[in-house]
Symmetry: C2
């Protein structure tokens, strides 16, 4: 909150390298704040207040908000500024339907074109994830889980697909992050992941697609229960 008084105005609290422009940094910063729940859905964003909080003037902050609005994380109400977007259960379900379809597509392509090294890399992530599961470390498990799904998409070597997948993924991340499933469901999810990995390693496209299908459909059930 504007504690330092030495420098002219804004412009600190940024990593020294910082090739990225300020509005770029704000974008990632705000995105994290929204995903992690620092900014609640439906909450109005006051530019002055948030700007001071971040030690930044309104101009780059507004630019960042426009960017996030296009991403769908923020809603722009004319003459009334920005509001953190709130998603209905149907919205979430719809997003998961699309995500599921995209991961199935990615999986099929990956079976055809992925390198052995790429698949082996996912296996490493998977094994690490299982260890976190056995240790009961939910946060670590969750992060690796995300990485694996993103990784499958990455194997398809289709930039627009990865981009759009990431876009929707970022919207449901917050929800998934909250949703702590019970031990049985968690065990099921891990078992599904094991079958997914096996199908991928066999490059069995149809089985992989089917396994992803049920895994992500179950994922919706798991989320819905805590919604």
């Amino acid at each position: 909150m504007a504690s330092e008084v030495v420098e002219p105005a804004g412009r600190r609290a940024v990593a020294t390298i910082s090739r990225q422009s300020l509005h770029g940094e704000i974008v990632t910063r705000l995105r994290d704040m929204i995903i992690e729940g620092d900014l609640q859905p439906g909450e109005r964003i006051y530019e002055n207040q948030l700007g001071e909080e971040l030690g930044v003037s309104r101009t780059p902050l507004r630019e960042a908000l426009k960017f996030l609005a296009s991403e769908g994380l923020v809603e722009l109400v004319p003459s009334r500024g920005a509001v953190v977007k709130r998603f209905s259960p149907k919205d979430i379900e719809d997003m998961l339907i699309v995500i599921r379809s995209m991961e199935m597509l990615a999986g099929r392509i990956a079976c055809a074109i992925a390198s052995d090294e790429g698949i082996a890399g996912l296996r490493l992530l998977h094994d690490a994830m299982v260890r976190h599961y056995e240790a009961g470390e939910r946060l670590e498990y969750y992060k690796l889980n995300q990485q694996i799904h993103t990784g499958i998409v990455a194997l398809a070597d289709n930039a627009p697909l990865a981009e759009v997948h990431g876009l929707l993924q970022s919207r449901v991340k917050r929800i998934r992050f909250i949703g702590h499933e019970g031990p049985e469901r968690w065990a099921n999810a891990v078992a599904e992941h094991e079958r997914i990995m096996a199908a991928l390693e066999r490059r069995d496209a149809e089985t992989l697609a089917r396994e992803l299908d049920v895994h992500l459909a179950n994922g919706w059930e798991r989320v819905k229960s805590v919604l």
Copy 2:
């Protein structure tokens, strides 16, 4: 180019109602300019110049550029401003793969949940499109073609799906717009559309998906030939 001198600075050339904010208008304006080729891919955007051209100061213009950057129509190079994004043939192909997958998904859902009126509405568009085809009116045909594909997605009643489909659609629009196919290919496309409509009216999800699959795969061939 700043011909009027009466009013203080920018702020004209806008419809009188205009609930939308200025940056919002600029977004749609620039998007059209990019799609229609007024701004060529790879072209650098000079904020001052473009701002004067549009009769607008740099601030809302920059906000609009951030928005379009998130949409993927422009690229933001740090300290060097905005450039109209250029897509490689692989990019286009990748986008069409995703678009195809999404339309197939939408088609399946539409067969299950669309209202009879919704389907009838598409039939009207289709018949009008065929008339434009027979009259050889390429632009009108093209527009209705787009509307039909968007309409199928709309029938699925899945906002994120429609949004993402529209996002990718806007990127390939320019390419498709340019691509004037020969008479045989054009005839094939129309025949495919007829089969698509028929499958939709029968609510035959699998056939519809298959027809969309081949139609959009052929679409890529048609585009590739003029690329």
